[in-house]
């Protein structure tokens, strides 16, 4: 009768990169997104991929796919490096906190970095600018 334990050890093979970024860059980006979201209460997210023929409507579709309630607080930065276009989509509440002018400034900062090929640097500086603009989340004071 068989005795002993079957090993569940698996061979770990190094995976081919899914994005052309080093782990250090990805960690910095992750940290910046977390900090931005928790400091402002706005749900920042970054989409990096193809945006199809009509980039604006595809970006808005992605924003809507967050969910009808959650999208109000959500600000999506959609970048398509292949098409060289960046779209920033803000929901209702996010638009109230971060004006269109601030979004435009962030886009300009991103483009300045993307022209050099520095995707992560551009995304991080844009997130920091938007975090600055958004400020801290409003405190809801319950009337007594």
């Amino acid at each position: 009768m068989p005795a002993g334990r079957l090993s569940i050890a698996r061979i770990v093979k190094p995976q081919p990169p899914t994005v052309p970024f080093t782990p250090v860059q990805l960690a910095r980006l992750d940290e910046t997104i977390n900090l931005a979201t928790h400091a402002t209460g706005i749900d920042f997210s970054i989409y990096l991929g193809d945006l199809g023929r009509d980039t604006r409507s595809r970006a808005e579709e992605l924003h809507a796919s967050i969910g009808p309630v959650a999208a109000s607080d959500a600000l999506l930065i959609a970048v398509s490096p292949g098409q060289r276009v960046v779209e920033v989509v803000a929901g209702d509440e996010a638009h109230r906190r971060v004006s269109d002018r601030a979004c435009k400034l962030a886009v300009m900062a991103m483009i300045a970095s993307f022209k050099e090929g520095d995707l992560i640097g551009g995304l991080i500086s844009a997130l920091r600018m938007l975090t600055d603009q958004a400020g801290s989340p409003p405190r809801h004071v319950h009337p007594d």
Partner: protein, 78 residues
């Protein structure tokens, strides 16, 4: 022992081992990423980073009437 033998055994062999190991460190890593340059086609799968991790593609209910949640933003290209 003659001097030549001494040198061969105690200097050359360690230097050879050292050199082989040094050459091994120069091998390219298997997980090295290629640097992206402007104008290169983007061949990677789309990636979506988020802090909450609650975004899920709404596949179950493709809305008959697409809900417009976008209120503003900006765009640009380079």
């Amino acid at each position: 022992m003659p001097v030549v033998e001494t040198v061969l055994i105690y200097v050359l062999i360690p230097a050879a081992i050292y050199g082989v190991i040094a050459l091994l460190t120069l091998l390219p890593k298997s997980t090295r990423v290629a640097r992206y340059r402007v104008g290169q086609p983007w061949t990677y799968e789309p990636v979506w980073w988020s802090a909450t991790g609650e975004h899920r593609q709404q596949e179950s209910a493709p809305a008959a009437e697409p809900v417009r949640t976008a209120r503003g933003g900006a765009r640009g290209n380079w």
